[in-house]
Amino acid sequence: MVYSVFYYATEAITRAFVGLFLKIIEHMKHRRMVEEKRREEKRPAPSWGFFGTVNPYGVKEYTWIGRTTSLKVSLPGLIKLPIAAHELEKPPTRLYFTFAEAASKDWFKEIEWLAEQAEKVAKEGGLGAA
């Protein structure tokens, strides 16, 4: 009798422990599972508005197609005009003077001296000031 009581008690405790252990494992597995996201419904392709197009001459254009009217307008894309004089590859060399310097009689000597310095720096392979 005593033996069977101990036996059943031990078995019940063991079952409880094993059951708990299995439940924990199951819970961890469940947590790892990734829920599938809802897919967003794709918008229908626009039937009106601005569309980027290429005309038969190979130039990019923007075409406006009307919503309720059968309006169709083509606008040429903006082109950046290459103007050589306005696009500076390197920043220009600048010499700064105050009014007092510019109004003195020795101003040109000063300019010459500064230009010589700039040339020297350029020859020595500095920042290329001249």
Partner: protein
Amino acid sequence: MLLEVILEDDVNCPRCERLLPVLRRICDELNIPFIVKLLGNRAVAAYEGDSASRTFSPEWIEKWGLKEHKRSLKKIAPMLTYIKSIGAQTFPNIVIRWHDGIRTKEIVIRGYDDSDEGRARQFAANIYTLLKTLKQVVYRR
């Protein structure tokens, strides 16, 4: 071929107003393009690294300034206060720009003061001589 004279001007600057006819006359005589640049809020003058450095006062920037003004206000607030206290002006600036075949070069002259007539005359003579020499260099004449 590039040789031009740019006057960076401000509407509220009396010295700019007096310098303008002098430069215009010199440039007309030498047939050199002369441009007057009236600098607004966003413009950056030849002497400035930032448009905010000319915009009057910290209070003005705080109230009306653009985003870039406000961003750089912390750094330059003491300088602005100092400029305001001594009444310093950054105008007029004369920018003489030319291209000598290799690259663009600039001479920037800041300020103009015609209180001493002899000095002002010497200044005009210097500018005239410089522009004449540069014209010979640029146009090979």
